[in-house]
Symmetry: C2
Subunit: 365 residues, 2 copies
């Protein structure tokens, strides 16, 4: 049975993008592959809404994007402020610590965004900041963090601004240049509509300069953005063997985004989410996030009293072939996470999910 | 035109393994995916010839395997001996340095293996060694390094032994347990017969203990083997989103290896290489490596005097659809590298390559 993937990711992939991976491989120095990589860069620049030259996809999952973004900027001792609104913000904290940063954290309660005042108050405690980082759409809660004001505060004190767009890119507007994001990374398997395994990333000129001015090389060799870029740019210097099959699928997914139109795509995500909100409310389910802070791409619901998490999700998977996500961290066992992203984001899928949930919750066949 | 990939990798992938990637995705916590991962582990243990429990495939290319192997073992200041016989040995040196090791290098001239006496002499210069590492089949030269004696010397002085099996695993015997290899990693896109993007890796109990006893966490979070293993073991703790499409292909490729029989597979690699040696000699081409040190999987040839590297390989690619590799590092512009690995390793491919080379070199149509 084909799974209806309505969890926090991976989302489903269109038959077109899936079929593209059956094409024979190309070598990593093949001019035909370079054409594909160029198209991928163009498509990613449109999604990120950026003119950044350094725009590429890393040979790893979204988490490699997080480590690449932080690890290339951080040198030991660098003061770093993480705005954490959930599980993935805390991952940023962990990675920044491993890279030797002097890590400070501004936290919001799970289910709520950070207020710019909190960021300003944290920034006021030090004279110099290397970077400020936060997650745009928190996959653990489904909160959208308003970005432009925070990015502005970071820039005002000379810090670089890093943003995680894993659960937003391709599903809601990500305006890298307009908001002043210096490094933005994402993943392919959520709203972009491709399989997992690649991490789109884009770097501003300021971020690039900061990396060029490092005193020590990046600790990670695999995720050293300068080495990676020397393959992506006209030098084409070997660094790793390009996971070409995944790039076939990413190219196809980006083509489908262009065909759909990016604004239409955002509108689809809003409308399908809205249908789900209505249906979930009608089932008596309650939301973890206030409407004005909700990401259309991912919705957290409180697990109703008396309902057990694991058996419910097992029935959903085994009897209906539908995957939704459980809670992460403190929310484990307390919430369900429903993703309506990319190719998974369809009205028909919402109907199937609501019917299945109703059947299990209320026994209505 | 479908490429005949006869370079240092990626190799071609069978239609069966390619087709498997068109299957719809599974979530990273889906019991059906866990079945696939278990089969992949079983298949990899057979290929690695090991009983190691900690056997998995990393969500990155072969180079992520190198960084994972070294980075998880090395703590700052650890004395490390790299036996370098080519470009990839030097990469080990670079990565070990970035992870803060006290790096010592025993080098062999490119095209030759290291002698055990060189390793012993290097080992004699210090009382304690954290690890000794070397490449089994050097992709830059096509030299096979005899391993068991070196591994024994390393163990004798209490060091762990790390081996790169990127260009050997699935093409020539890799005997992790018999030789006493503590950490062995590879890639999927050469002799294993799957697309690039995953790095098989296996760790001995001793390696695992050394990692458990670290004073500081691994610098890399993405390649922290303990976090990775907590997803692969029965805990199934989320770390990254499994690149499931690549695992479909890896499972299929491993199944094909089992169907073929591993000894028959090694024999095929020897026989096809032997046919190529004969044909290349008949064309007047000369080899960079003595017969007794040659990997059947990868052959380096001196570029004949008067022949230009880039135009030759361009004609091969554009007129005949055949990819071979150029030289790396000091051998750039001086050698060609021909890979006969996995699904690319077929007598028919050798014939096509030799005919094309003859046509370009001697104008015989």
């Amino acid at each position: 049975m084909t799974r209806l993937l309505l969890g926090p990711g991976p989302s489903m992939v269109s038959p077109r993008a899936l079929a593209s991976m059956s094409q024979p491989l190309l070598g990593y120095l093949d001019p035909q592959l370079f054409e594909i990589l160029k198209k991928v860069q163009q498509g990613l620049r449109q999604l990120f809404q950026t003119q950044n030259e350094v725009t590429l996809a890393l040979p790893g999952t979204g988490m490699s994007g997080m480590e690449c973004a932080l690890g290339n900027l951080i040198e030991p001792g660098d003061p770093v402020l993480i705005g954490a609104i959930g599980f993935f913000g805390e991952r940023m904290v962990e990675i920044a610590r491993r890279y030797g940063a002097d890590v400070h954290v501004a936290r919001a309660e799970w289910g709520k965004p950070l207020q710019p005042e909190q960021i300003q108050a944290a920034l006021d405690q030090k004279d110099r900041w290397k970077l400020v980082a936060c997650v745009h759409a928190e996959t653990s809660t489904g909160v959208v963090q308003p970005i432009s004001e925070i990015a502005h505060l970071a820039k005002s004190c000379g810090a670089l601004f890093v943003m995680d767009a894993v659960t937003s890119l391709g599903g809601l507007p990500v305006k890298v240049d307009e908001w002043g994001v210096d490094v933005c990374y994402s993943a392919t398997q959520k709203c972009v509509g491709a399989p997992p395994g690649l991490a789109p990333i884009t770097l501003s000129e300021s971020a690039w300069q900061a990396i060029a001015n490092r005193s020590h090389p990046n600790r990670s060799w695999y995720l050293d953005i300068r080495l990676l870029w020397d393959y992506w740019n006209e030098k084409r210097i070997y660094h790793h063997t390009t996971p070409v099959s995944l790039f076939y699928a990413l190219q196809e997914a980006l083509k489908m985004i262009e065909e759909e139109g990016i604004e239409q795509r955002f509108e689809r995500h809003r409308q399908v989410a809205s249908k789900f909100y209505q249906g979930a409310s009608a089932l008596g389910l309650s939301f973890c996030v206030e409407p004005e802070h909700r990401a259309p791409t991912l919705t957290s619901l409180h697990i109703p009293e008396g309902v057990e998490d694991a058996p419910f999700r097992s029935r959903l998977l085994n009897e209906f072939g539908i995957e939704i996500g459980g809670g992460l961290g403190d929310w484990k066992g307390k919430v369900w996470r429903i993703g309506l992203m990319g190719h998974s984001c369809q009205t028909d899928h919402v109907k199937k999910l609501l019917q299945a949930m109703e059947t299990i919750l209320h026994g209505n066949h």
